[in-house]
Symmetry: C2
Amino acid sequence: MNSFVYDIPTRVYFGPDQLDNLGKEVSAFGKKALLCYGGGSIKKSGLYDRVMAQLKAAGMEVFELSGIDPNPRVSSVNAGADICKKEKIDVLLAVGGGSVLDCTKYIGAAAYYDGDGWDILLDKVPVEQCLPIVTVLTLAATGSEMDSGGVISNPETKDKIGRMFPPMQPKVSFLDPTETYSVSKYQTACGSSDILSHLLEIYFVPEGGSMYMLDCFMEGMIKTVMKYAPIAMEQPDHYEARANLMWTSSWAINGFAGALQNCEWTCHPIEHELSAIYDITHGLGLAIVTPRWMRYVLDVTTAHRFYQYGVNVFGIDPSLPEMEVAEKSIEMTADFLFGKLGLASTLTEIGIDDSNFDIMAEKACGGGILQGYKPLNREDIRKILTMCL
Amino acid sequence: MNSFVYDIPTRVYFGPDQLDNLGKEVSAFGKKALLCYGGGSIKKSGLYDRVMAQLKAAGMEVFELSGIDPNPRVSSVNAGADICKKEKIDVLLAVGGGSVLDCTKYIGAAAYYDGDGWDILLDKVPVEQCLPIVTVLTLAATGSEMDSGGVISNPETKDKIGRMFPPMQPKVSFLDPTETYSVSKYQTACGSSDILSHLLEIYFVPEGGSMYMLDCFMEGMIKTVMKYAPIAMEQPDHYEARANLMWTSSWAINGFAGALQNCEWTCHPIEHELSAIYDITHGLGLAIVTPRWMRYVLDVTTAHRFYQYGVNVFGIDPSLPEMEVAEKSIEMTADFLFGKLGLASTLTEIGIDDSNFDIMAEKACGGGILQGYKPLNREDIRKILTMCL
């Protein structure tokens, strides 16, 4: 069993009435805030006004960076960093979903760097400092509110890169499940698919099974997504469903459950190539890739873990043969994603053909071996992509 | 569903090779450390030497307070605080089980107070500051390594009081499961009983069931204790068993799983009166009290929660009548504590009669109502104690 360091210092205010603490928390870091957000849905929902009221009451001077895209771009990182340098910003406030939060993290890091923010993604410069980050989450999906990672796209090079740097960990995050009531049925499905993928990426690892208490927690979170995503899609203002999905989104990826991870992730790097080129929703790409990856890596050496997953998550009869349970667990995963969540089940269905598979496969494994649950080379990844057509 | 604040900033180094980071972490807080420990078992095990080597290599000046008792006394708190004031201590290092950690927390708080440390327990003075605390844990039980609470005894008044103050939260904790290999069969049983009780105290609450993902985690941790405690008792050096118990001890009580707690604890206050007067091991007292408390609070209004517990933890047939499952779940809890763990099942067996029941019942409810899963007055508590004879 591996050793690990647990270190998740983010303070989280969870619940519908917690935004009253925003002004106090943000102003603890200084007087000048940069408010970062996306396309303006927070203005429609009234959240923008409530956030501004809190900041004004706390005596903050507020600057703004809006228009951060889904699959956020390096141009937004650079634009935000420029404001930070010019206005001597003390604290960043990200209000939105994972894209806004991810972008804000790199703004905070790039504020201490004079070159192109993309250099940080290329690992050309170390991230030793970051402006303090406070987040107000509006979508349960990426877990960015409680981890130190983020993913940025570069449309010029058609690259999409994710990295983790401890200084980018949010200091405080506000999670109000009622803010996700307005998330559409489709985006709720995509967010849930993203959460599920985070859980499967940490569940299917070579050390899997050595920490039973974490296995129970991961299986519990997978069951939580499967139980509540369909409810939230049908009843958008179902508090219990939204609350369970939101808190699970944070804990699926904050490092606690995945402490024993001793391999690279697989579906995420493959999906990043899809959304880098075709700008599709991350959770949709993951849904299409995941069951194919599962089928591809299932063999006699991995079947035991799929068996455990099938029995504990889906309640499949444990007396059935191991391989039969394993195969059924993959079928049931696909049924959830394409049936219950109603997501498109093939790349063909969303207009993607095999014309970029070679370059995508090459990039997903960095030209070498993707050291995942089972190591995959470019040929393996190309085969998985072909299974997705 | 209640709102809550999640805030657990303790950094945890988990695993057999992590003590190498001790010097670096302790010396980050200053040059003068007070090393707090118990009866000297850490000298026999070699842990004392390894800790001292780390501190010396980091250039620390080390003072010592040894002899901290199980059920730690306020006299140790005052002795430690005196050293802190006289020597201008920068950082406290607690090496031991929950008793040593609890005592060290109050030393850190009392270092900022000129009166008797017992005043802090009596809530006469607020705890706004505490010396930074680093812990090295040698027993999986109380969870003190990752929370801000602690329990202190006053032999003169025969009181035992527990409180929580955020400044007392350890900054860094070192959890090495191999350090618990030398814990005796009996102490392993008592520690496991303590962990189980923490989980049951947060599982049986009026809001229970509204956060499914936390329910799954709590049930998973209960199953972890039941699975691994007997293994650790039979094979003291079983790493997987010791690691699962140790990490579960922290997460049973650090505030995450119990975030929705909206009532007082019940078995702990009752047990504190037992160990305050008779100085019995905390986990043993909890084992005797817990199944009686369960039987006492089981009725048609609470049976649904016992049903869920019985089905999800013990795998009892869900098609049986609710009350039958509930009763069976209590029987199986008792079987675990008195059968698998082999703990004494009655107060009579350990030489305790009813002569102090009146005063114990009175103190446990503070002379009023103990607002637990079901509110209990002194008569209720006296009845529960009588069931324990």
